[in-house]
């Protein structure tokens, strides 16, 4: 399926919960309402025409006014790719986990939590993965200031 067809299919299915679609960009994407992400993910995985069974990348991006979670999905069966983006407010970035749909999301979401502070509802083991467990702050945010010392060691 071409990106245009995929965009049309999910807009038809989910209507206004798909906020925006850009299937003609170099990397075709659709913006999804954060509350609907679990449903959209399940549909994208289960539907035979789409069967997006491979979550390639789940990452956070910090735009100045919002934090975005990016899902790059791929279908092994049909060999097509599509990207979903969810825009979250900076003060309280909360979104439901998609761990139940793709098992690899477990670690990717832990990393997004570690680097951006995005809280994933329903995650089975949400703790830091790259930074030490008692690290303060979310390093990849644009307004991050590194602490002067960590456990009495100068940073």
């Amino acid at each position: 399926m071409t990106p245009q067809e995929i965009a049309a299919l999910i807009t038809e299915r989910f209507g206004s919960r798909i906020l925006e679609s850009k299937p003609d960009a170099i990397n075709p994407w659709s913006a999804v309402e954060p509350a609907a992400i679990l449903e959209v993910s399940q549909f994208l995985r289960a539907d035979d025409r789409l069967s997006m069974d491979h979550l390639e990348l789940l990452g956070g991006v910090d735009y100045k006014d919002r934090i975005e979670v990016v899902y790059v999905l791929y279908s092994m069966k049909h060999r097509h790719r599509y990207t979903l983006k969810c825009r979250l407010p900076r003060e309280a970035p909360v979104i439901h986990t998609v761990e139940s749909v793709w098992a690899v999301a477990n670690w990717h979401e832990r990393e997004a939590y570690d680097m951006f502070g995005i809280v994933f509802d329903g995650h089975s083991d949400l703790r830091r993965i790259l930074c030490p467990d008692d690290w303060e702050g979310y390093p990849l945010r644009k307004d991050y200031k590194a602490p002067k010392s960590y456990r009495d060691m100068p940073v």
Binding site: I26, N27, H54, L57, G59, V72, M76, T83, A103, W107
Partner: protein, 373 residues
Amino acid sequence: MEVDYSGDVMTLNMGPQHPSTHGVLRLELKTDGEIVADAIPHIGYLHRCFEKHVENVDYPAVVPYTDRMDYCAAMNMELGYVLAVEKLMGIQVNNRVRCIRIIMAELDRIASHLIAAGTYGNDIGSFTPFLWCFRDRETILDLFEETCGARLLYNYNWIGGLMYDLKPGFEKRLIEFIDYFEPQVDKLNTLLSDNYIFIKRTAAVGILSPETAISYGVTGPNLRGSGVKFDVRKDEPYLGYQDIDFEIPVGKGEYGPLGSCWDRYMVRIREVKESCKIIRQAVAQLTPGDVHESIPKRVKPPAGDIYMRTECPRGELGYYIVSDGSLKPYRLKVKSPCFTVMSAFREVSRGTMISDVVAILGSFDIVLGEIDR
């Protein structure tokens, strides 16, 4: 994940410093005698804040940083990044650059798989293949050194071209090496791959079913070892791989269930032979040209985002670049194949023995630099 431990469990740390964890990885094993009830990987010991650093440097200056992620296959790391930026900017490179990039990427793949095979033999207890693999790898590193001056971290693939052209006589030395090397792979097979004890240690261990593998986002030789015929070079060809004739080796479960450690290891050995084929064809397609032709004066990609993936020796390497139209990347996220494979490790190694944990870890062929970035 809730695990039911029955009986007395002892926590054994295969700690960050350990001869066979392929880097600084901490495996927390909950053992009941020799059986491992749970194996929890802890990463982050080699985190060097790659993604934060590259937000502060120019696009061309990111290339040395990408080298240092997977230091065993640095050419492929650079290649993925450089191809992503070139796609974003719409740069086309000439045939010479294309062929040299293929040659370097495949040589790097051979070098990386030799490390994987040698260290895997070491983990299983056979010390000799390690030396044989590294002996052959030395010639490859010499070829790299004469081209770009470095043995391990190259900074060779630049946005729009290459750092240096090939030295005179490189093609001859390269073909000599490939002619010498292909029979060495058969010798390695006789010593290690077809060894009865090695097969007993690895062929019934660490079974990764295709569904689990895809769900956990496993790619590369680990996925192909489970029987799934999927390779980015065939699926979404880049650098003209569609014009090169090569096969994708897939695990067939010859000595045990499909998806065992032996299958994954054997896929790598067979890939080495395929890489030799690719290199011969790339050398034949080489034409004279200027490798610095298409390098832009200033790298300023248009605003937008892109996801580009390439087949690095350990799997599918993905670069997600968000550009805001300035000279520096706004966000560069790396999807590292070893990261996803380690997320599957806990499930695969539950209920095995300590020796098997080592075997499974070795068959996944991880490099912590890539996992932690």
